[in-house]
């Protein structure tokens, strides 16, 4: 009998499906000069599985990266040469902080916050976004902070 954990089926079944979904996003992002190759999309899909496992999460369906792509593709701070790396960093931090914030934020709320800070105070630095604002956001969430009540992402810098 196969001892495969049912939840680990996501790793096997979804990588290829996720890759297809990511490549489909090129139809939108290419308008902003950004696109993923098949290899890059595969890598991102594999990174997704690892990021989910590292953050103790399970995801059904295509994943969060398409939403991240649609949100970030018109950012003035993302260029083709660092597109895949930036997406991977944003994906990983999204899952990590989603768990750390104890599910207090919906996907859209968290992405909106990340975008606002990324395009704003941190000037496209994913590292700075992750190391400062997202940490602050999580700490605020643990204290019962209401994201909808905050006045722009600048409150959390």
């Amino acid at each position: 009998m196969n001892n495969e954990n049912i939840l680990s089926l996501q790793g096997q079944a979804q990588i290829a499906a996720a890759q297809d979904e990511l490549l489909a996003c090129n139809s939108i992002s290419s308008g902003f000069g950004l696109s993923l190759s098949e290899a890059e999309a595969w890598e991102l899909a594999v990174c997704r599985v690892k990021a989910l496992e590292a953050s103790g999460r399970v995801e059904f369906g295509g994943g969060i990266v398409p939403k991240i792509i649609y949100a970030f593709c018109d950012s003035p701070y993302i260029e083709q040469e660092d597109y895949e790396v930036t997406l991977a960093a944003l994906q990983e931090s999204f899952y990590y902080f989603k768990t750390e914030a104890m599910e207090r934020f919906s996907d859209d709320e968290l992405i909106e916050f990340m975008l606002e800070v990324f395009n704003g105070p941190v000037h496209g630095s994913a590292e700075y976004l992750i190391g400062t604002s997202l940490e602050e956001l999580v700490n605020s969430a643990k204290k019962g902070y209401d994201l909808s009540a905050m006045d722009s992402a600048g409150d959390l810098l």
Binding site: M1, N2, N3, E4, N5, I6, L7, L9, Q10, A13, L52, G56, R57, V58, E59, F60, G61, G62, G63, I64, K67, Y95, K98, T99, E103, S106, D107, D108
Partner: protein, 298 residues
């Protein structure tokens, strides 16, 4: 608990060929994905592993309810999982309504003997039934259960199945206790534990043990108080490993018949308790002193 053991505990997966097992796993996986989306109301594409495992347990429990006594794999593989899930949820809705009635009955028949564990557990079960989530946490059991039943042999049950069994046992004990005078019961309990009102203990057990002792020696037993003479007779009647089992069984039968019970569950419960009582008495036979089991002089 691994997901495989979580699933196979509730669903008839044993001995399935690997291909069918994988097919079943993939069906459950898809169903779990749909359940997760409903749970997050579409606001999140991902959940924590712990949440997914809880949703999976709920799913498996609900499917097992739908399968009922039909534990064959064929139904699990041939039926549309979503329809089976819906059927399970409908059955749980009906069972929930029945259990609310049963809980009310337990409340109405609760003994007039104060005990904080009894009271808080019964109250907590009421809250659990009011807030029971049959869609996402159907497998959950009341977290408040502190009161120790005389017999607890259904630990493997889940969700409403567990709750139903617990309430049925509580009701059986209520009914038994109602046959004895509550003032006398309180006196006896006070002898066992001076502060029985706040002690972690079963209210029915000692009165029943005394009743069994008196019934075993042919004495009237609803009074449940044992004097020295009674104790000598009980020790003589039950103080022999050959006579013990027969004596207890005969006492149980007498209690059941003379108290006018017709509920088969009460008889089963009494017999299950006898299974526990016999070795307990047996362990002190060598000493010839049964005063630690049958309490006299209350």
């Amino acid at each position: 608990m691994s997901d495989d053991s979580r699933i196979s505990e509730l669903l008839p997966m044993k001995d399935l060929p690997e291909s069918q097992y994988m097919l079943l796993q993939s069906r459950l996986y898809m169903l779990l994905g749909e359940q997760t989306e409903k749970y997050t109301m579409g606001e999140s594409t991902s959940v924590t592993v712990e949440t997914a495992q809880e949703l999976l347990s709920s799913l498996c429990y609900t499917l097992s309810v739908a399968l009922g006594n039909d534990r064959g794999c064929e139904k699990l593989l041939s039926c549309d999982p979503a329809s089976l899930l819906k059927k399970g949820q409908e059955l749980l809705k009906t069972k929930l309504a029945e259990l609310k009635e049963l809980w009310s009955k337990v409340c109405r028949t609760a003994p007039n003997i104060p005990n904080s564990y009894y009271r808080d557990t019964l109250k907590g079960i009421g809250v659990y039934l009011d807030h029971y989530d049959l869609y996402f946490f159907a497998h959950s059991r009341p977290a408040c259960i502190d009161y120790p039943l005389m017999v607890l042999s259904f630990e493997k049950l889940q969700g409403l199945n567990y709750t139903e069994m617990y309430l049925k046992c509580m009701l059986a004990e209520n009914v038994l206790l109602s046959k004895f005078d509550s003032v006398t019961v309180a006196k006896l309990l006070r002898k066992v534990f001076p502060n029985y009102e706040d002690h972690y203990m079963n209210l029915c057990e000692q009165p029943l043990i005394n009743a069994i002792g008196l019934a075993a020696v042919g004495k009237p037993f609803t009074g449940i108080l044992i004097d020295e003479g009674d104790m000598e007779m009980i020790t003589e009647r039950l103080g022999d490993s050959d006579k013990l089992r027969k004596g207890i069984d005969a006492a149980i039968s007498r209690i059941y018949l003379e108290l006018g019970f017709s509920d088969g569950f009460v008889l089963t419960y009494l017999l299950c308790y006898a299974e526990m009582l016999v070795p307990r008495i047996g362990s002190v036979l060598d000493t010839g002193d049964l005063s630690g089991v049958f309490i006299s002089g209350a």
